[in-house]
Structures are given as structure tokens and as C-alpha cells.
Amino acid sequence: MAARGLAAETRRMLRDPALLGAVVVLWLLLGLFVLYPLAELLVRAFSDEGRFTLEPLLGSLADSHHRAAFVNSLILGGTVGVLGTVLGFLFAMTATRAGLGRHWLTLLDAAALLPLVSPPFTTSIAIVFSFGPKGFISHDLLGLDNVSAYGFWSTALAETLTYFPIAYLTLRPIIAAIDPNLEEMAFSLGGSRWRIFRTVTLPLAVPGFANAFLLLFAASLADFATPLILAGNNFPVLPTQAYLQITGMFDFKGGAVLSLMLLVPAAAVYLLQRYWVGRRVYVTVTGKVGQRSRSRAIAPWAAVLLVVATVLVAVAILYFYALLLYASLVVAFGANNSFTWQHYHVIFTEGLPAIRDTLIIALIGMPLGGFYGVLVGYLIARRRFPGRQAMEIVSMINYALPGTIVGIAYLIAFNDPPLALTGGALIIVACYIFRYSPTGIRATVALLQQIDRSLEEASASLGAGSGQTFRRVTLPLIAPAFFAGLGVVFIRSMTAISATIFLVSLSWTLITVRILENMTELALGPAAAFSVFVIVVVFVVVSGLSALLMRLRTPMAGAAARSLLGG
């Protein structure tokens, strides 16, 4: 049966040149930029002069420093997972249940989402400014001297504030989808509010908690930038250890092994999330959060408490960003607080190559990544061809892997002829496309699932080949996913570092890498100025894209969806 289906699918594909061409080209690209680097990484880690060996792995495990890094990564991930889920839940409850007005919600969202679109060091820099030896809070307010802002707790704090929006975004639709009527029904049956919260709301949200925790755990595990700045020497974690192994000791094999140690918990989390939590989400997550009337299931004092706690967190976040802006505008933060444009002058003169390179790379990657995401999403969701599921899985690999693994794999695979691509812009662009387009793929698949297949069949019956159908019907309908995917690639091209730090060179560098260099040289002013610049650019582009999306959606999503997508 399977063989017959495969034969029929193959026959069909061979008669459809557009489909055949797309599938072949995509497999070539996926092979080159996903499978080949990963294979090279594994070969490098597990072979010695052409023979399979576990020696490097065992050697690495025997090193107490590496073992500590492994354990530390897990502890950090677990802590960030718990704290971030709690914060995310707090925000989600406030947003859905406290009865805040629309404008307050927008403000709350802005504060919560800011960290997600910021360059990776933003929170870390702000924490150094706040709690460092000359920190605003530690030194100026509390009068402490020689405090250290480095170590486990500051790293955990920074990562929690950076990644809790993931938990918020995961939990909010779930809690919003728990019908307040359900709670009110229990209320009307005479349950106390606390009892209802315990027996109705919380159990329904449990799969959401698990999901949020796992996502945060994975994000923390993969985070490279925060521990690099804040963890210090006494708290090594895997991504930074792997980086130091390669850049400090030029030990590619050791770096490869360390990055693969990261793979084990990352894969476990991914599998748990996909096959266990994914099936236990009770409420349908639509991603659409409508305005709800104030729920009576929350006591007034509880609502006030929620709002106060949330506002405190939001203020803390805004304070960090304000501090960053301030630091970029004074001569030397903590020492000389007189106003200056000096740091901006520096980043637009000395730092200009980095800005130019980053923008060029982001602008090249953006349309390519958007198109790639839409094309793969379309093929996966709509077409039948041999190896379709394999393509779906392979296209997600670089997205699911921690950036450190991807970066080291690219470095190993593309460092030598015949594919000596490191040092060029192409490899950085490719890294971004294959790492960050999966968001576009997911969005495309989700959108296509709402668009009835008969639209494409109608086009075919009217004489259009698969290429024409894609261009004339499918592409216009999935434009929102295209722009969403393109936006993510742009944002990440501006803010990511974990993978691409291995790929920059003298001729092509990135703003994020320059921020890191500034931080290590203690040139905090320019680092702050670079961060502000990135945030502004990302903000402008994201606002532009969402305005465009709003305009795109009006004819499509509303009435059209009602009348045409059903049936």
C-alpha cells in the first residue's frame, strides 16, 4: 500500500515540473545547509582519523569543568523555566481576567514583548548598570561598594525577564480560551473563588504551564549572550563553554562535543513538548484574544493584587530600557553623567561597518526567508510528494537546535574547501534563513489549514498549472504568513548572536557581535547606543509590517473567511 501510494505520488510529481523543481531545489538547500553541517558536526565529534570513537565525548564528560557546565545549564534552565512561567502566568491572568481597559492592555503587551525584539544583551547590560560596582541601584541608591553583578542569580534574573514573554504568549490564549462562563458556572454553584481557581482554572491551564516551562527551559538552555556577559567564571554553562573552547583554544572537536552535550536536554525538551504536552492542551488555542467582559470569578482584591504585581514587573522592564537609553546618552555611566552624543557618533563612524553589514544581511535574508518559509509551508500543507514528512522535520531542525550547535556545525562544515564559505555574508544569511524561517513555515501551514483546498482545485480545473495556482491564488492568500515570516527573519537577523558569532569575520561582522566586543572592552556607552539603535530599527520595521498586515487582512480574514473558507 505505502509503496503503491509512493509510486503514485512520484508519478504525479514527475508530471508536474513546477512541483518537481521546487522539491529538488529545496532538498538541495536543506541538504546543504541543514543536514550536511549537522553530519559534519557529528563526524567531527565522534571520529578520529576516519574511525568512530567516543573518546572525545568520554574525555569531555570526565572533565569536571564540563560536567559542571552541563549541570549548571540544567539548573539555570529549570530556574528560568519556573520563574518565567510564574511571571508569564501573572501577566496572562492580568491581561485576561483583571478587567483592564484596552489601552492598559496595549501598554502591558508592549512592556512584555519589548524583550523579545531586543538584542540579546539588553537586559544583561541594564543589570550591569543597575547592580554592578557602580550600579545605579547597588551603588547610588543602596550605597554598596564592590558588589558583583555576575553569577547565577543575575543570569537567571536577566534570562527570566528576557524570556518570560514566551510564557505569557503561550498562556494568555489558553487562559483566555477558558470560558469565564465555566468559572462563573462554578461560582453560581456556590464554590468559593479560591476553590474555583484551584479546581477549574488551574487544572485547565496545566498543559499550558508545562508547555511554557519547556519553551523557557529550551530558550535558557540555548541562550548564549546572557551567560557570556553575566554568568562570570564561577558559573560556566554549555553554550559559553563551547564558544570559549573554539574561540579561545581553537579546539573544534571539543566545541563540537560540548555543543552536542547541549543537544541531549534540548532534544528531550523538544520531544516532550511535541508528543506529550502537545496532546494535552484541553482548550483550542486560536491565537485570537478577544475583549472579554470583566470576570466575576476573580475577587476585586485579587484583581488589584494582580495588576499591582504586573505593573511592578512592567515598570522594572521599562526601567531597564530607560537606563539603557540614559547610559547611551551620558559620557560614562556612573562616573560622568553629563549628556553627550559621543556614543552615537562612535557607532555611526567606527561602528558603521557593523551596522551596514547587519542591515545588508538582514535585508537580503528577509525576502528570501519569507519566500522560503511560504514555499516550504505550502508544499508541506498542500502538496503530496515523496519525502514530504521528512522535509517538514528537516526544515525544523535548525530552528529547534540551540544556536550554538548550529553555529559550530556551520563553522566546521563551511570552513574548508570545497565549501569554504565562512567569512562571507552568504553563510550568515543562510544561517538566518534556515534557522528563523520555520516561524514563517508554521504560520503558512496554519493559514493554509484554514483555506479550503477546493480553492486550489478550482484553479486547477480552470486550467492553471501548479506554479500558476501558487502565484495567482495561494500566494495572495498566504501573504499574511509571508510578511510574518519575513518580519521574524529580519528581527532575528538584527538581534541574534548565538549561531552567527561563529561565522563573523573581519570583512563581515554584526552589530550584536560589536556589542559583545564593547562589553568585554568595558565600552558600555557604545554598547548601549548600539542596543538602542537596534531596538529602534526593529520597532520601526515591526510597526511597518504590522500596519501592512492589518491592511492585508481586511478583505481576507473577516467576511471572506466567514463565507468562503467554511464548507
Binding site: R12, L455, E457, G463, R472, V473, M556, A560, L564, G567
Partner: protein, 349 residues
């Protein structure tokens, strides 16, 4: 008789079922549709009628058998190279295109000149009564209007065959009757070979030249509406088309049978002593008040007619009386004499 336009030869389609394993959606279906004819595939949901239609369109590929259109084997030809017009149950209008652009789609794909497109679209919109709707968006139209746009879009580029997949099932009852008459008259006017899929037997009888009844992936009978109604080939067809009584009978002689103790004159073509199963339509059973015989157990007054359930021996008969004399309807519990009209009895093989 006109030439054959569509021919299906031993067409089968299998699917993998998670529980039952491999199942036939369509099993060895052979059909032919004459040029200009309207054939309806009729059957309950899951009988394979839509799959058969989708194989004619090329959306699905048969696992066995061949399909030809106008003498050309199209079994493995992609849908866009078959020259078909397809009308979908959910209309499938392109939501991002205006009515004009929806209808013009097929012509644009063929690369026709702008002036020809404008003229052809104008004509066909006129034909379906939607002139002046060109600039509207699909979601601004009612369901019936959308279906007419879908129809216009399917015929504007003069396809060789027209295929309908339950086109009226999303419309309300009154609109359905209106639309099916429109479809029928348009189809006759342009004389296009048509295959029409529905599960509604009344719609099928109203619209078709010929009906193929499908059950569990197979065509069980293929004929005119009269054939199916009066001479059903199987119990399934008899029950699916109209209301019916299926009765066991014993053959008494060459021209007499016994039904529930009643002697009924009927040439069964069987020899004495054999048993047979007979199809008798409700309107072919006449009831009259009597002292013995059957007994009325239910009556439903429907205005133009009255439906009865009558207990006769071990059977419960459905009978319909369309009585113009305004006689009082028979009461429950009333003993009745039951008479079968010999010309209305059909024997099942």
C-alpha cells in the same frame, strides 16, 4: 444517440483506513456519459460518488481502470489539462479577487486578450443573471449568488465537460429548487456534457437525463428516473428512491402470488411454490373500509395526500391515498381491505 463524451472503465480507488485497513472508496465503476447528457451520481454519503467525480476531474487518481474524455485517455492527466469546469459544494470563489476576476480566471490563465475576456465575462454573467456584479467581492454576495458566480466561472472558458459536486447543499430549500432549474436550463442551452453529484434523490430526479445510483463504492443501477422508481434493481435502490414496501411473496401460479395471505394477480415469471421479494410503492396500494383484513395503525394528513401505516399479517405497509372526494380519512384501528395494483408491483431478482 450522440457520441460518448465521458467513459469510465473499471475505475477503482482505495484508501488506507486506520481501523479497517485498505478500503475501496470506489470499486470497478464503469460508466459512460453521452455528449450533451446530464448524468447524476446519486447515493448516501460515503458511497463514493464524490470520489468518482473527483477522479473525472483529476483531483484524485484511480488505482485501477481508465477514464477518457472525448476519446482521449486522461487517466493520468493533471486536472488543468483536462478541459473541465468544476462547481464546488462550497463555491470555492477566490476571496481575494472580484467577481469579474473570479470569472475571468480561466481565460487569464489561457492568456486570452483583454477585450475578449471582458466580452466573455460580461456575457456569462448576463447568462446567470449577475450582470452589474463585476466589481463586487465574493463575500458581499449571498450564497445563491456566489454559486451562480461559481457556475459562470466554470462555463466561461467552454470546457468539454461540466462537473458539479453537491452544488446546492449549502442553500436553503426554496433556493435549491430555483437553482437546480437554472442549472438544468443553462446546461441544456449550452448543451454541455455534465456529471452531477448529489445525495438528494428529488434533486437527482428533477435535474437528470440519467441517474447512476451508487452504494458502497459501486454503481448499483444506472437508468432514467422512471427506471429507478418503478424498476429498482436492488432493495437498496428501491429504498433510496422514494418510499417503498418490500414484501415477501409466495408464487401460487404463473399469474398469481400470495402476499400476507392475500391472493394478488401478478405475472411473476416464476413457477408455483417459489418465493419472491416484491417492491410495491405506497401509491400502488389501495385501502377501503372493510370488516376484516388489515388494520390502520397510523395516519398522517398532508393535504394533497394522506399517508397510512397499515398492519397486514406480519408486515406493516406504507400506503398513500390521494383522494379527491374529501372522504373522511380512515381512523386508527379501522379494519381495511388492502388491494395491490398489479402494474405497480416489481419483483426483485
Amino acid at each position: 444517440m450522440a457520441a460518448t463524451s465521458i467513459r469510465l472503465d473499471g475505475v477503482s480507488k482505495r484508501f488506507d483506513h486506520t481501523v479497517k485497513g485498505e478500503v475501496y472508496a470506489v470499486r470497478r465503476v464503469s460508466l459512460s456519459v453521452a455528449t450533451g447528457e446530464l448524468l447524476t451520481l446519486l447515493g448516501p454519503s460515503g458511497c463514493g460518488k464524490s470520489t468518482t467525480l473527483r477522479m473525472i476531474a483529476g483531483f484524485e487518481e484511480p488505482d485501477e481502470g481508465t477514464i477518457s474524455i472525448d476519446g482521449r485517455d486522461v487517466t493520468h492527466v493533471l486536472p488543468n489539462r483536462r478541459g473541465i469546469g468544476f462547481v464546488f459544494q462550497n463555491y470555492a470563489l477566490f476571496p481575494h479577487l472580484s467577481i469579474f476576476e473570479n470569472v475571468a480566471y480561466g481565460l487569464r490563465v489561457q492568456g486570452r486578450p483583454e477585450t475578449e475576456i471582458a466580452r466573455a465575462v460580461g456575457e456569462v454573467l448576463e447568462l446567470v443573471g449577475l450582470a452589474g456584479y463585476e466589481r463586487q467581492q465574493p463575500h458581499q454576495l449571498s450564497g445563491g449568488e456566489q454559486q451562480r458566480v461559481a457556475l459562470a466561472r466554470a462555463v466561461v472558458f467552454h470546457p468539454k465537460v461540466l462537473l458539479f459536486d453537491e452544488p446546492l447543499s449549502n442553500l436553503d430549500a426554496k433556493l435549491r429548487v430555483e437553482m437546480r432549474e437554472q442549472i438544468r436550463s443553462l446546461q441544456k442551452r449550452i448543451g454541455i456534457t455534465t456529471v452531477y453529484v448529489t445525495h438528494d434523490q428529488e434533486e437527482a430526479m428533477a435535474i437528470s437525463d440519467r441517474i447512476a445510483v451508487m452504494d458502497r463504492g459501486e454503481v448499483v443501477q444506472d437508468g432514467t428516473a422512471q427506471d429507478l422508481y418503478y424498476r429498482p434493481a436492488t432493495e437498496f435502490v428501491a429504498r433510496f428512491i422514494g418510499r417503498t414496501n418490500i414484501l415477501g411473496a409466495r408464487v401460487l401460479s404463473a399469474d398469481e402470488v400470495e402476499i400476507e395471505g392475500l391472493k394478488v394477480p401478478f405475472r411473476s415469471g416464476l413457477t408455483a411454490g417459489q418465493t419472491a421479494r416484491l417492491v410495491v410503492r405506497p401509491e400502488m396500494i389501495e385501502l377501503a373500509p372493510a370488516s376484516t383484513g388489515g388494520e390502520v395503525v397510523q395516519h398522517t394528513f398532508l393535504g394533497e395526500k394522506t399517508d397510512y401505516l397499515v398492519k397486514l399479517g406480519s408486515s406493516t405497509l406504507q400506503a398513500t391515498a390521494s383522494d379527491h372526494s374529501r372522504r373522511p380519512i380512515l381512523q386508527i384501528g379501522q379494519p381495511v381491505a388492502v388491494r395491490f395494483h398489479a402494474e405497480g408491483i416489481h419483483i426483485l431478482k
